[in-house]
C-alpha cells in the first residue's frame, strides 16, 4: 500500500513538473520582463506623488498595508519610471543550462536538479498547487547579493513611530556567502571542502553601541532544506559562542522589530512554511537608483551617502517607487507555535527579491510591514556597477500595533574579497571576538 502511495506521489510530482516545464522563452520573460513594455496603470504617472490627498489612484497598485500608510498621511510615494534590474548573465545562463532538469521533490522543502540558476523560471499558474513553493525556491536560490557580498557598514535605528524619537542606534557589518550555487566568482559552482553541504552563510558583527558591541551572529544554511539552520551567537560580554535555538530565530533580534527569520525578506527554510501563490500583479515597488535619491548629507569616508528616512516617525525611506511585475505569495508557518499566523510576500518577478512583506500575528491581525528597498547596482557604489545584483539599500520594519519601527541604511558592496569562506566559521567568531 505504501508503495502505491509513493508511486502516486512520484507520478503526481512528475506530472506537475511536466505540466509546468519551462522554455527558453520563459527564461527570457522571467529575467527581462520589461524588454518589450513596462507596466502601466490608470492614473499613475512618472513623477507624481501619491499621498493622503490622492491615495485612491493607487488602490490597485499598492499593497493594502502600504496603501493604508499613504491614506493616513504617514508616507508619500514618489513614482519613477520602471527600469530593468538585469541580473548577472552567468546566473541567467545557469538557468538556461538547467531548463527542464529541476523538479520539486515529493515533500515541501525538497528539490532535485537545482545547483545553480533560477530553478523555476516558468510563469506560475493558479492551477499549480505548488506554485507558491516554486516561487519560494526561486527566492532561496536567487541571485540575492550574488555569490557573496558585504554590507559595511549597516546602520539600524529603532524609532518610536508616534514621536519620531530614535531610541537606539546600532551599527553592523553583514557578510553573505554562497557555498553552492555559485555562478560568477571562483570556485564555481561550489566551495570545497563542504562536508555538511552548506548552501549559504550569513555572518554579522555588531560594532556599536557599547552594550552590544562585538555581538556576532553566524547562520549556516544547508543545501538540504529539510535540515534546520545552525545559528551561532557570540556575545561580547561573555566572550564565547552560544548556539541559538529556533525560538531565537523568531524572536526580536537585539530588541529590534526584526526577527532573524525576517532577514532579506525571508530567512528560513522552505519546509518551515506552507506556500500559496495568490496571483501576479503590477504594483508600485521600492526600486530606484541610489545616486539619484535625496541622500543624507553626511558622507562616508569614500563619499558614500546613505538613504534618508522620512514620513511618520522617520519610518520610511526617501526613495522612488516604480510599477513592477510582482508575485503575491502567502507563507503560513508550519509550526503552530510560530509568532506569526502568516506572511504575505510580494516577490519582485525580475529579481526575486522580496521588497514588500506584510506580517500577521497569531490572531490574524496585521502586525508588521516590511520593506526592503532595492537599488540598481549601476547607480550605486562604483564597484557595484555591472555586478547584476539588485542591491538591498534601505529597509523599514514597522510594527503597526506598537507604532514602532526599525529602519536600516545599507552600504552594500558586491566584492568577494570582503567575505572569504574563513569568515563563516565558528572559530572566526571566537577569533574576531573581543
Amino acid at each position: 500500500m505504501l508503495n502505491k502511495i509513493f508511486l502516486a506521489l512520484m507520478t503526481l510530482t512528475l506530472m506537475t513538473s511536466a505540466t509546468y516545464a519551462a522554455t527558453l522563452q520563459d527564461v527570457e520573460n522571467s529575467f527581462y520582463p520589461y524588454k518589450n513594455s513596462v507596466p502601466h496603470a490608470e492614473g499613475i504617472k512618472v513623477g507624481m506623488v501619491i499621498n493622503a490627498d490622492n491615495w485612491q489612484v493607487a488602490k490597485d497598485v499598492l499593497d493594502p498595508v502600504m496603501l493604508e500608510f499613504v491614506k493616513n498621511g504617514d508616507y508619500e510615494i514618489n513614482v519613477a519610471a520602471t527600469t530593468s534590474f538585469d541580473l548577472h548573465p552567468n546566473y541567467v545562463d545557469a538557468t538556461k543550462a538547467r531548463l527542464g532538469k529541476v523538479m520539486l521533490g515529493a515533500e515541501v522543502g525538497t528539490i532535485n536538479g537545482s545547483d545553480a540558476g533560477r530553478p523555476f523560471p516558468a510563469e506560475p499558474s493558479q492551477d499549480d498547487p505548488r506554485a507558491g513553493e516554486k516561487l519560494a525556491w526561486n527566492f532561496k536560490y536567487g541571485y540575492n547579493w550574488g555569490d557573496s557580498a558585504a554590507i559595511k557598514p549597516f546602520y539600524w535605528q529603532y524609532r518610536n513611530m508616534k514621536t519620531g524619537k530614535i531610541e537606539r542606534n546600532l551599527t553592523f557589518n553583514f557578510h553573505f556567502l554562497n557555498f553552492t550555487h555559485r555562478v560568477v566568482n571562483d570556485p564555481k559552482p561550489e566551495i570545497l571542502p563542504n562536508p555538511s553541504d552548506l548552501f549559504r552563510g550569513t555572518y554579522l558583527q555588531v560594532l556599536a553601541p557599547f552594550d552590544v558591541k562585538n555581538t556576532q551572529l553566524l547562520i549556516h544554511r544547508y543545501e538540504d532544506d529539510q535540515k534546520r539552520d545552525n545559528v551561532y551567537l557570540y556575545l561580547g560580554f561573555q566572550r564565547r559562542v552560544r548556539r541559538l535555538s529556533s525560538g531565537q530565530v523568531t524572536d526580536a533580534f537585539l530588541g529590534s522589530d526584526l526577527m532573524i527569520e525576517d532577514f532579506e525578506g525571508y530567512n528560513g527554510r522552505i519546509a518551515d512554511m506552507k506556500w500559496k501563490y495568490l496571483g501576479t500583479r503590477e504594483l508600485l515597488m521600492p526600486f530606484y537608483n541610489h545616486n539619484d535619491m535625496p541622500l543624507e548629507e553626511k558622507k562616508d569616508e569614500d563619499g558614500y551617502q546613505f538613504v534618508k528616512m522620512v514620513g511618520k516617525g522617520g519610518c520610511f525611506p526617501a526613495i522612488t517607487w516604480q510599477l513592477r511585475k510582482v508575485y503575491e505569495v502567502e507563507a503560513v508557518p508550519v509550526d503552530p507555535g510560530h509568532p506569526l499566523s502568516k506572511r504575505v510576500h510580494y516577490f519582485d518577478a525580475q529579481t526575486f527579491t522580496i521588497p514588500r512583506t506584510n506580517m500577521y500575528d497569531r490572531k490574524g491581525d496585521l502586525w508588521k510591514s516590511w520593506t526592503i528597498a532595492q537599488a540598481h547596482p549601476d547607480f550605486h557604489l562604483p564597484q557595484n556597477k555591472g555586478t547584476g545584483v539588485s542591491i538591498d539599500d534601505s529597509f523599514s520594519m514597522i510594527d503597526v500595533q506598537a507604532q514602532h519601527c526599525t529602519t536600516g541604511k545599507f552600504k552594500g558592496i558586491v566584492d568577494p574579497a570582503l567575505s572569504p569562506a574563513s569568515k563563516f566559521t565558528v572559530q572566526n567568531m571566537r577569533a574576531s571576538g573581543r
Binding site: 557599547f210 552560544r242 548556539r243 522589530d257 572559530q427 577569533a431
Partner: protein
C-alpha cells in the same frame, strides 16, 4: 627612598587616569580612521544590609583596536587593548565597616555566630582558640604582612585602586593579533600579549574556563567573568583548518601562559568581598600561647606568642618550567560543536600545607612561627565540551567536563590531600515566548547543574564527596530591549546555600545604562568538627563541631556570603 617609592605608587592611579584621558581626548582626532576606540565610565554603589555602603566603585575603561599595516606572511594584524582604572570609595565612605580599621569581634563574625573556636575558653584563660582576622595586615601587622607577602598583602590604598600594582593591572589587556594564510588553505593565527583565554561554555561558575585566574574580591561570584578574569601574558597559536573531511570546522589551538603565576584573588580581611571568608582566616592567629601547658610558662611551653595561621605563601617564581600550557581541539560536526582540552597549570585556589612543630614530631602541634604554608600545586587537566541543538526541546544543551589530577583539598587531621576531581556542568538554554508576560519578545530560560566528584575523598575533608550547584536564569526584555529584568538563582544543594539576585537593566540611551538589583543570600549553617578543639582542651570529643575554621569550605561561596544581602545600583556611561 621608601617615601619616594610610596609616592610613586600613589601616583600610579593619577598617571593612569591621565593616560586614559589623553587617549580619550587629545589623541583621538590624531588617530587613523580605522582605529576603534571606545569605553565607559561607571559608578557601582552597593548597600549591604546592616553594614551600609559595601561598594562605591568608580571605573574608567578604555578599549582600543589599532589595525597595523602588514605585508608578507602575516595579515589582519591588529593591536588590541583595554585599560581600566578603578577607585573604590567604600574604604573612605564606610571605614567603620571596611578598611584597615574594620575590626571584627571574632573570626567569621560576618557569616556565622560565635562557635567554640571563636568563644573565649577557660583553658586559654578566656581567649578564643582563633583570633579575629587582622584587617589589611600590611597596614596593621608586619608579621602577618610578611607571612602573606605576594598574595594577601594589599594595603588599604591598594584595595582602593586595585589596578595599580606592580603587575600593571591597569593594562587589562594588550595583545597583538595576526593571521597568515597558508598554502594549503588553512590559516595560522596568533594572539600574543596580555589577554583572557576563554574555554568552556558555562556561566557563573567555571569548569573548563580556568586558564585565567579570577578576582573574587571585585564582587564575589556575581560579576561577569569578563570583568573578573585576571588577564595573563599568553601566546595563543591556532591552526584553523576550516572544513575538513568530516568536520565543518576544525581547529587546533595551543595556549602558552608564560606569565608569572597568579592565583585567584579571594579578597582579604577588611575587604567587603572575601570569598569563603578565607582572607580573614589567613589573617588570624591560633592563641595556643595561652594554653597552660603549651604556652608561656607551661611545660613544655612551646609557644611564646600567638601562632599566625599562615607562615608563608609559596608563589612560584618565574621560570620556563613554571609556565602553563594548554592544547585544545575544537570543531563543528553536524549539529554539534565540541572541544577537547588539555591543560598543565597550577591550582588557582590556595592549598594549605600543615607545618608540624619540629621539636614534637607526631604531636600534631603546629610550628610556632605559622600553622600553614600556602602552596599552589601543579595540576593536569583533561576535559571537553559539547553543545547541541535539540529540536524536540527546541533548546540548546551544553555539557562540559574536566578531570584533574594534582589538586589538593584541605583535611582536618592531615593538613591536605592530593586527589583526582571530576567536574561537570549540564546546561540548557531555551528561548520561550510567554504571551501573557510579553508576546513580542521571548524570555531566556537557562539552567545549569554543576557537579563535583572528589575521587579520593576522606571523611575529614571539609568538602563533599559529591556536590552540586544549580543555577537558574530567567531574563526578559521589553521596549526594544531597553528594559531587561532578570532573576538569577544559585543553590548549593548540599550546603543549602542559596543566592537570589533580581535585577533590572535600563538602557536610557545608547550611551547610558542603569542597573538596579539586589542579592539575597542564605545558608552558612553547616558546621564541621575541628580536631584541634579537642587536642587543645585535651578532652577528645568534649566539644561539638564548629564553624571555624573548616566549615567555610563546607558552606561554599554562597553559604559563607549569607550576610551579604545587598541593594546594588550601577550607572554606566559608554562612549
Amino acid at each position: 627612598m621608601w617615601n619616594v617609592t610610596m609616592s610613586f605608587k600613589k601616583l600610579y592611579p593619577v598617571m593612569a587616569v591621565a593616560f586614559i584621558c589623553v587617549l580619550l581626548g587629545a589623541s583621538v582626532p590624531a588617530m587613523a580612521e580605522d582605529v576603534v576606540l571606545d569605553g565607559f565610565v561607571e559608578n557601582a554603589t552597593y548597600l549591604r544590609d546592616g553594614r551600609g555602603i559595601s561598594k562605591f566603585r568608580n571605573t574608567a575603561q578604555l578599549e582600543f583596536l589599532i589595525p597595523v599595516k602588514s605585508s608578507g606572511f602575516w595579515s589582519q594584524v591588529n593591536l588590541n587593548g583595554i585599560l581600566r582604572a578603578t577607585y573604590d570609595g567604600v574604604y573612605d565612605l564606610n571605614d567603620d565597616e571596611f578598611g584597615k580599621d574594620a575590626n571584627e569581634s571574632y573570626l567569621g563574625q560576618n557569616w556565622h555566630p560565635r562557635g567554640d573556636a571563636t568563644t573565649g575558653h577557660p583553658v586559654l584563660g578566656g581567649k578564643p582558640f582563633l583570633s579575629a582576622g587582622v584587617p589589611f595586615p600590611c597596614d596593621n601587622d608586619p608579621t602577618l604582612c610578611k607571612n602573606l607577602d605576594g598574595y594577601m598583602d594589599l594595603d588599604e590604598n591598594d584595595a582602593k585602586f586595585p589596578e595599580f600594582n606592580d603587575r600593571l593591572d591597569f593594562i587589562r589587556e594588550l595583545y597583538i593579533d595576526a593571521t597568515a594564510d597558508l598554502a594549503n588553505g588553512d590559516q595560522l593565527s596568533i594572539r600574543l600579549g596580555k589577554q583572557q583565554v576563554i574555554w568552556g561554555r558555562s556561566d557563573l561558575f567555571r569548569v573548563l574556563d580556568v586558564i585565567n585566574p579570577v578576582d573574587y574580591s571585585r564582587h564575589n561570584i556575581y560579576d561577569e567573568l569578563e570583568d573578573i578574569r585576571i588577564p595573563q601574558w599568553i601566546l595563543q597559536a591556532e591552526s584553523r583548518m576550516g572544513p575538513t573531511g568530516i568536520f565543518d570546522d576544525f581547529n587546533t589551538s595551543l595556549v602558552w601562559n608564560f606569565d608569572k603565576f597568579r592565583p585567584n584573588v579571594l579578597g582579604q580581611s577588611g575587604q567587603p568581598y572575601a570569598i569563603l571568608d578565607a582572607g580573614n582566616f589567613f589573617a588570624s592567629y591560633l592563641n595556643i600561647d595561652a594554653h597552660p601547658a603549651l604556652g608561656n610558662g607551661g611545660v613544655p611551653g612551646f609557644y611564646t606568642a600567638p601562632v599566625p595561621i599562615i607562615h608563608d605563601v609559596d608563589i612560584p617564581s618565574w621560570s620556563l618550567r613554571n609556565t602553563q600550557i594548554g592544547l585544545k581541539w575544537e570543531g563543528v560536526y553536524r549539529d554539534t560543536t565540541f572541544s577537547l582540552n588539555g591543560l598543565y597549570y597550577r591550582q588557582q585556589l590556595p592549598s594549605l600545607h600543615f607545618r608540624e612543630l619540629v621539636v614534637a614530631p607526631g604531636s600534631g602541634l603546629p610550628a610556632s612561627d605559622g600553622v600553614f604554608d600556602i602552596v599552589f600545586p601543579r595540576v593536569k587537566l583533561i576535559g571537553g565540551s559539547i553543545d547541541y541543538f535539540n529540536q524536540a526541546t527546541d533548546a540548546i544543551w551544553r555539557l562540559e567536563t574536566t578531570f584533574t589530577t594534582g589538586e589538593e583539598l584541605p583535611r582536618d587531621k592531615d593538613g591536605h590531600k592530593e586527589t583526582d576531581i571530576l567536574r561537570y556542568v549540564l546546561g540548557i538554554d531555551k528561548n520561550q515566548v510567554i504571551p501573557f508576560l510579553n508576546k513580542r519578545r521571548a524570555f531566556l530560560i537557562s539552567g545549569q547543574l554543576f557537579g563535583q566528584h572528589v575521587l579520593d575523598h576522606e571523611n575529614d575533608m571539609p568538602d563533599y564527596k559529591d556536590n552540586w550547584i544549580a543555577t537558574f536564569l530567567f531574563k526578559g526584555w521589553w521596549d526594544s530591549d531597553q528594559i531587561s529584568p532578570q532573576i538569577l538563582v544559585a543553590r548549593d544543594l548540599r550546603s543549602d546555600g542559596m543566592a537570589i539576585a533580581p535585577s533590572v537593566e535600563w538602557l536610557v540611551s545608547d550611551n547610558l545604562k542603569i542597573t538596579f538589583g539586589g542579592n539575597i543570600v542564605s545558608g552558612g549553617k553547616k558546621k564541621f568538627d575541628w580536631s584541634v578543639n579537642d587536642a587543645l582542651t585535651g578532652v577528645p570529643g568534649s566539644l561539638p563541631s564548629d564553624y571555624e575554621p573548616l566549615a567555610r569550605f563546607k558552606n561554599g561561596p554562597i553559604g559563607v556570603a549569607n550576610q551579604e544581602d545587598e541593594l546594588q545600583l550601577t550607572v554606566r556611561y559608554s562612549f
